[in-house]
């Protein structure tokens, strides 16, 4: 990829290509790959390749939608899937495009950096013979000697940080060559090198990071070991030793809402411990405010209700006493959940429930009219039979295989109410608690990416805002016989990039030299 300046990049490529002096085919292939046309093509291709990733559902974003699409399009779906169109951003063809782009970029950067390093040490180019042929020029006569004119010019130029070179010419004249705006190419190179570093940082995170999700009920804790997670997504080169041994307890979760039921704020107060035995500190984890645990960030990503349910056997023995998380089904937090009591009763008992934090009856059935627990009601159905927990088939804690169970009864309960089943078992809705889900994420490449991103912008500003320009001045002595020393001065300038504003800069420089 060729970088955007007026620098004739083809020279660079040619000298590089001749030095490689490998087989002509490889050489021309390489030259094509690092040409601007290829860069443009690859940029366009990358943009086009990204589009299907926004139009079709993506596994990385929403696997449920992908499954639904596959179910609805039995012929087209598998075909698209075969082309990795549901994993566009992880697809081999997508990777091929951006890797080619980056190879092309590096292939162009290396000679370009070498050339710029040389240019930074080199003096500005010699003064052209006919300065009056340049687009911007001016000639005047000065009462000063040639050396004084040149000294004045150099000090005016250097004050504005021009790089200058004074050369004595054969005919007795002296010329000054000056150049400014090297920062443009420096910025340009910094921008492109930083893009490569940015990609490396992304790769680092993708290879060594991890991500996990866990649901924690108010009052309960979490320790950062792999088995504690509900979902754990390690990266390719992840090892368990990367898990730093922190832990935390969810002391309190608090959600507030607008009158409409729209959420206003979520706060999770957690007691955090960096490692076993370390001091405990309390943190407020909110949306946009993750907890910076040692080596990882802890994010609040969801919440819901956990219902405290107690079950006693007909003889009065407490066989189940636990906060059971219910999963929200809508924005008003109507939720569903399941209680399984396999032991301690004459039969295995299962309860399926719907929970309404603000209960309301409508012609369409019960519903929740507000997400906060203003009038909590738990609607339970009791089932008897083999819950299938010993069958060896993994089961979700949020599902009960009711098809094979015997339905006993239904009941609506408010907090504190008990319900006696026909066989004498009692179910008590002891209270409403809350849970929060946390995501723990560790990305070792994050800092590299951040630094690279800052440099990308700094480089971009340099390459787009700085203008490269040249200035020349020639002073020739005039001898009019009376011994007075005077000179004729010609100055000229050449904007090498954006010419806007150059005329004014030139005029003010010349004005300062005349004074």
């Amino acid at each position: 990829m060729v970088l955007t300046t007026t620098e004739p990049a083809s020279d660079v490529r040619e000298s590089e290509a001749t030095r490689l002096s490998t087989a002509p085919l490889a050489r021309s292939g390489w030259r094509h790959l690092t040409s601007m046309r290829t860069a443009l093509l690859l940029l366009t291709l990358l943009a086009l390749a990204a589009i299907p990733g926004t139009l079709l559902p993506q596994r990385g974003l929403n696997p449920v939608k992908v499954d639904a699409f596959l179910a609805n399009h039995p012929h087209l779906g598998p075909f698209l899937d075969h082309l990795s169109l549901f994993d566009v951003f992880a697809a081999p063809w997508f990777a091929a495009i951006y890797l080619l782009l980056f190879i092309s970029l590096i292939g162009c950067l290396v000679p370009r950096i070498r050339l710029h390093a040389r240019a930074l040490r080199k003096a500005p180019p010699p003064t052209p013979r006919h300065l009056d042929r340049l687009p911007v020029n001016e000639t005047w006569s000065s009462g000063l000697a040639v050396d004084d004119v040149v000294a004045n010019a150099c000090s005016a130029l250097r004050r504005h940080r021009w790089r200058t070179e004074v050369r004595t010419e054969p005919d007795g004249g002296v010329s000054v060559a000056a150049e400014k705006g090297y920062l443009r190419e420096t910025g340009n190179l910094v921008f492109h090198v930083s893009l490569v570093v940015l990609l490396a940082g992304i790769a680092l995170g993708g290879l060594f990071g991890y991500k996990g999700t866990v649901l924690v009920v108010q009052g309960q804790g979490f320790a950062n070991v792999r088995s504690s997670y509900d979902i754990f997504e390690p990266s390719r080169l992840y090892s368990d030793s990367q898990l730093s041994p922190f832990s935390f307890t969810l002391r309190q979760f608090k959600a507030t809402y607008e009158a409409s039921g729209e959420p206003r704020s979520f706060d999770a107060l957690v007691d955090y411990q960096a490692q076993p035995g370390a001091a405990t500190s309390t943190h407020d984890v909110r949306v946009n405010h993750p907890l910076a645990a040692s080596g990882a960030n802890v994010y609040l990503i969801g919440h819901g209700y956990a219902l405290h349910i107690q079950v006693r056997s007909p003889s009065g023995r407490l066989v189940f006493d636990s906060d059971t998380p219910f999963l929200p089904d809508d924005g008003m937090f109507a939720s569903h959940g399941v209680v399984k009591v396999p032991n301690g009763l004459p039969h295995q008992l299962g309860l399926t429930g719907f929970f309404y934090p603000t209960f309301e009856t409508t012609p369409l059935g019960p519903r929740s009219s507000f997400p906060a627990a203003r009038n909590p009601v738990l609607s339970l159905a009791a089932w008897r039979g083999d819950l299938g927990l010993d069958s060896g088939v993994p089961q979700s804690v949020y599902d009960l295989p009711v098809a094979s169970l015997h339905h006993l009864a239904n009941r609506q309960l408010s907090p504190g109410q008990s319900w006696r089943l026909p066989d004498g078992t009692t179910v008590r809705f002891a209270g409403v608690d809350q849970w929060a889900t946390f995501q723990v994420a560790h990305d070792p490449g994050k800092k590299v990416v951040l630094v690279a991103a800052i440099l990308v912008i700094a480089g971009l500003l340099g390459s787009l805002r700085v203008r490269r320009r040249r200035f020349w001045l020639r002073a020739t002595p005039v001898d009019d016989g009376d011994g007075a020393r005077r000179s004729v001065v010609t100055a000229a300038g050449l904007p090498r990039t954006d010419p806007d504003g150059f005329r004014q800069e030139f005029d003010s420089l010349v004005q300062r030299m005349k004074d």
Partner: protein
């Protein structure tokens, strides 16, 4: 809700000011075509005054909206559109202080009025609080950068379109300029080329469009990166190929291609400009289509 009403009324005034200004700029052209008389200059100056008045009302509308909602006034699509239009007018006014760009007036006002009209009718949402996900100081940084870049891209899009028209016209009139056809071309210029003859040279337009993109592109880059930092805080990852992120990236690629094309022989000029317009089209998709049709994490449209 009193202040919210003031905000709405001020926006109507702003649109009226811009619309009248557009007529003024058009009048300047109409008078200026027949003779470079003072009537054209007066029309142009009145148009600028109307633009500034409209701009004042527009700023007032945005500020009162912010006070009405007790938050930054760019929390949903209506407010965002209003801000983008405000930036576009601001960019035009700033350019006006630096160089002779009054010719742009009508062409900037037209999309601004359209944009605001769309914002005030289809996209309108009542002044309300933000959802917790948007409650971060990054909304000030990320969204302001995105708005600034979008407004500037809009102005550059207008200039690029004018450049393409003018360039085509210059090519057409330049063809066959010989001793015999000069008079015919002169006639053509005097008769049909009114607007085109009145616009500055294609090269000037091309450079102006580039200058605005050279300002907007780093701002857009910053907007994407600030968004990534915010995403890292809110969603636990700095990049996740969410449709909004992806289309912002596609827009970035298109403008990057434009900047590269400007430095490539054979691409400089018309072909590069087409890339810039494609970039602007991507920006519009990023904004309208992603917000309303494709669902993603950036669901702040407030349109139901």
């Amino acid at each position: 809700m009193h202040l919210a009403h003031v905000s709405d009324v001020l926006l109507v005034w702003a649109v009226a000011g811009y619309a009248l200004a557009m007529l003024g700029y058009a009048a300047e052209f109409a008078f200026g075509r027949r003779n470079a008389g003072s009537r054209a200059v007066v029309a142009g100056r009145v148009a600028v005054a109307l633009t500034i008045a409209g701009w004042g009302a527009h700023v007032g509308s945005v500020v009162t909206r912010g006070f009405a909602a007790h938050r930054v006034p760019w929390g949903n699509m209506y407010e965002f559109s209003s801000m983008v239009a405000l930036v576009a007018v601001t960019v035009f006014l700033v350019l006006l202080t630096r160089q002779q760009v009054r010719f742009l007036g009508a062409f900037v006002m037209a999309p601004v009025v359209l944009y605001l009209g769309l914002a005030g009718t289809v996209l309108y949402a009542n002044a309300g609080p933000l959802v917790p996900a948007l409650n971060s100081y990054w909304i000030k940084i990320h969204v302001v950068a995105a708005i600034t870049a979008s407004g500037a891209f809009m102005v550059s899009g207008v200039v690029t379109t004018l450049y393409l028209l003018k360039d085509r016209w210059e090519r057409r009139t330049a063809v066959g300029v010989g001793p015999g056809t000069a008079a015919a071309v002169e006639f053509e210029r005097a008769r049909g080329g009114g607007l085109m003859g009145w616009l500055p040279a294609a090269e000037v337009l091309d450079r102006l469009a580039y200058r605005v993109v050279a300002f907007a592109f780093p701002v857009w880059t910053f907007a994407i990166m600030a968004g990534a930092i915010w995403a890292e805080q809110a969603w636990s990852r700095y990049w996740g190929w969410d449709p909004k992120e992806t289309w912002s990236f596609i827009t970035w690629l298109a403008y990057a291609a434009y900047l590269h094309a400007r430095a490539t022989a054979g691409w400089r000029g018309r072909r590069a400009s087409v890339l810039a317009l494609i970039g602007f089209a991507c920006l519009m998709v990023d904004y309208y289509v992603v917000n309303t049709v494709i669902t993603g994490l950036h669901s702040y449209a407030g349109v139901s």
